[in-house]
Assembly symmetry: C2
Homo-oligomer: 476 residues x 2
Amino acid sequence: MKQNRPEQSAIVPDIDTILSEIDRNLEVATAKLFDLISIPSISSEPESKPAIERAAAWLERELAVMGFAAETVQTAGHPVVMARSTAGDDASGDLPRLLFYGHYDVQPIGDRDQWVHPPFEPEVIEEDGLHRFYGRGASDSKGQLWTFIEALRAWKAVEGQFPAEIVIMLEGEEECGSPSLPAFIDIRRDDLACDVAFICDSDMWSPTQPAITTQLKGLVHERVIISAPNPDLHSGHYGAVAANPIRILSTILAGLHDDAGRVTIDSFYDGVREIPESLRAKWRELSRHEGLFDDVDLRGGSVEAGYSLLEAMWGRPTIDINGITGGNQGPGERSVLPGSATARISFRLVAAQDPEAVRQKFRDHVRARLPEGCTVEFVGADGSSAVMLSQDSAFLRATARGLEAEWDTPTILKGTGGAIPLVQHLADGLGAECIVIGWILGNDAIHAPDERYDVERLRRGTRSWIRILDEVRQLP
Amino acid sequence: MKQNRPEQSAIVPDIDTILSEIDRNLEVATAKLFDLISIPSISSEPESKPAIERAAAWLERELAVMGFAAETVQTAGHPVVMARSTAGDDASGDLPRLLFYGHYDVQPIGDRDQWVHPPFEPEVIEEDGLHRFYGRGASDSKGQLWTFIEALRAWKAVEGQFPAEIVIMLEGEEECGSPSLPAFIDIRRDDLACDVAFICDSDMWSPTQPAITTQLKGLVHERVIISAPNPDLHSGHYGAVAANPIRILSTILAGLHDDAGRVTIDSFYDGVREIPESLRAKWRELSRHEGLFDDVDLRGGSVEAGYSLLEAMWGRPTIDINGITGGNQGPGERSVLPGSATARISFRLVAAQDPEAVRQKFRDHVRARLPEGCTVEFVGADGSSAVMLSQDSAFLRATARGLEAEWDTPTILKGTGGAIPLVQHLADGLGAECIVIGWILGNDAIHAPDERYDVERLRRGTRSWIRILDEVRQLP
C-alpha cells in the first residue's frame, strides 16, 4: 500500500506495446473466457454448487499461472477467489494498492426454451457487424472480470511488473445478494485494504461512450406465498364461492401502485428525499445524450408521475414483480382452484431507505389485505441499501481520463437502477473508495435468455484498464 | 330398443342374491379398479397417449370377458370404448335400451410434490373409519364407471341375462372437453340410440345422501399470454420504466370482478336470466340440508352479491383463474423483468350463454386493457353450454327410487358448478334423456392432489345400479 511514495518512478511504461500485446493475444483471451463461460456457475441453485467450485478452481489456476499468489477461500456460502501481486512484481509498499473486484457466479438461465443459443457453449458468431458470443455470464460478469485479468497479464508480460500493488477478489454469490461477503471482508480486512477498489460489473452509456456508475440502488428480494384455507379444489364445484389465491394475489399485486404509478405501501417513501434540483438538471442534460434507451422499447411501461425516465430509474424507489406461479402449470387445461399462489417481488431502494424496514412494510401491507381464513408466508433474502459514491476524486478523475483515452469521448458519470451489494460492503467494511465501471450494454440481455457480449468490447474493455492504470500510476 | 314391449316379464330377478354377489366379489372388483387407476391416462398431456391406449385396451378386454360385444373405436382424439349386450343376453328389441356413460381419462396430477400418496399406485388404507384409496381417477371417474360395469357383471352372473338392452360408452377425453365426441356420436348414432343415458360422473349430496344432477354449467377454458415489447430484461435496469407483463396481467385479472363480485366484462351477463323464484326457493330448502359444504372452508371466498352459495354455484355465470405463470420460476431469486406472463382462465356458464360469444367478449375485454406496445395471444379449447335436464320423468323417478332403496333416504335433485360437455352432446346428438348421477364427495380431492375414494362407496355405488335397474325394469 502506498504510504510515503518517493517521486514518480523514472521508468515510463510502454503503453502502446502493452495495448498491442492485448490485441495480439485477443484470440487466446477470448478462448479462455469461453472456458469460464462454459462452467454453469449459477449461485442461487444448490445443484450448481459443483460448477461454482469448478469456476473458482479454474480462476485460481489461471491467476496462479500469471504469477499471482492465488487462493480459493471458502465462506459460509460460495468461495471467494483471492489473488495478490507478489513482492517482485510490484515493489509493494511503495505503490498504490488497487483492488479489482469481479464476480464469477451467474444468474439462472430461466426457461431454456427461450434461448436460441445454448447458455453454456459460447462461440464467436458474426452478426450486426460484431464478433458476438452468447452465454449466461458472457457480459454479467465473466466478460467483465476477464478484462482486468487480461489487462494485468498484458501489463506484466510487457513491463515485467505491475505499476501498483494488485489485489484481486472474485466473488461467487453476487447474483444472490453477497450474503457471505460482509463476514469475509471482516476476516480478510488486511488483505483487502486498498487505496481504491475497482468494481467491474457495470455498463457503458452507449456502445461508443464509457461511463462510471456513481449511484446504485438498494435491493430487497421477497417471495410471498398466499394460501387458501383449502388445498386444491375442483374449480367447477367451488370456484364460484371458495377463495382463489391467484385472484387474491393478483388483486394485491395490482394494488401495489396507484394510477400515478406511486407505490401504495404505507410509509414506503419515508425518508426518501426529493432528488436535488442540481442532480435533476444533470440528469436532464444526460438524457439528451443518445444511446441509453436505444435498445429497449418502453411502450406499455409505467413511470411514476412527475419524474423523468432517468429520475425513475436512478432516483426513485420502485417495485418489480419478477415472477408469479400458481395453479395449473401443465401443458393441458385443468379445472383447478389452486390452494396457493406465489409471487417474487423486488424493491429497488434509494438513499435512506432501510431494506429491512421496507420488507416489513410490504409484509404488513399484504397481511392487511389478506381475506379471512387465508394465510401468507414470506421468504426473504438479505437486502442491500442504496449507495452514493464519490462524484469527484483524484482516482475518479484518473479513471475517467483513462476511459476517455481509450474511447476518445467523454466519460459519463451515471446512476443505475441496479444494485451491487458488494459496493456497500466494501465501502463500509474497508472504508475504501469504490469506482464502479464496466462494458455491459443495454441489449446484452443480462439476466435474460441469450445473454451476449462481443470480442471488440472484450478487447477495448481490456485496453481501457491499461489506460486507467497508466493514469493512476501518474497520480501524485 | 324397446318398441312395442309386451306385458311385464314374468321372471322376477333375485335382487338380494345380485346384491350379495356384489358384496362377495368386492375384493376382486376393488383390485380390478386399482389396475385401471394404475394406468396414468391423462388426456390433456400428449406424452400420456400410450397410457390412454392402454386404459382403453384394458377396458375393452374386461368388457369382452364379461360377454359384451366390445370394441375400441379410434377418433380424431382419444379412443372411445364401446360395448353392447348381445342378443342372448338381453332379448334385444323387447327391452328398454340403456346407455351407460363413463370416462376413463383423468386430470393431470399437477405438482407431484403435493401428493402424499402416489397418484398411480392405489392401495387400501384404513383411515377415518373407511377403507380409503388414493389415486388420480380414483373417484373422477374410474371409480364411477367401475360401479356400473361391476353391477352389470353381477346381474348377469346371477340372472344369466340383463333386464335391458345395454350399451356402454367409455370416453377418453372428458377432462379436455370431449372435442371428438360430437363427430363420434354423429357417426355412431344408431349404436348409441337409447331410451335413457346414464351419465355416471357426478356427486352425492353428502356421504349418506344420494343425488341426481339435473343442471350443469357450461365451460370455456381460455389461456391468455401477455407479452411486453421486449423479451426478458434486467429488472434493475428497466424495472422502473419498462412494461411488466405480470403487473399488466395482474391488473387485468384483479379487474375481472367489481367489489360486488360481479364480472366486469362488457355484456358478459347478456342473455342470463334471473334464477326463477321457484328454483331459488327449492335451493333455499336444499341449503338447509347438511353436508354439501362440510368438507370445504369457504372463508376468504368471494360470492356475487345478492346470491346465496348455491345460487352462485349453480345458477350464476362465474370466472375462475386456474393457473398463472410468469418470470422467475426457479429456486433462487432472479432480477428479471419478464417478457411475458400467462394466465389460464375458465368461465362457468349458465342457460343461454354461448361459449364462443363469452370467449370473444373476454378477448375484447383484455385487448381493450392492453397497454400500447404490448401484445396478447389467446389459446382456447372447445367450450360447452350449460345444460338443464328434465326435473321429472319416469326414468328420473325410477332412478331416484333406486337410489333411495339403497341409501334409505330421499334422493336430492341438485345443480352443479361443474360441466360434463358430453351431456350436451348426447342430448343434442341423440335426443336421449340423460340422467347424471355418481358417488363422488366434496372431499374426494378430484382435480387436486391426493384424489381419493373408498371401498364402501364403490360397493354401495355398485349396489345402487342394481336397485336402479330393478326400478327401470318395472317401468310400464
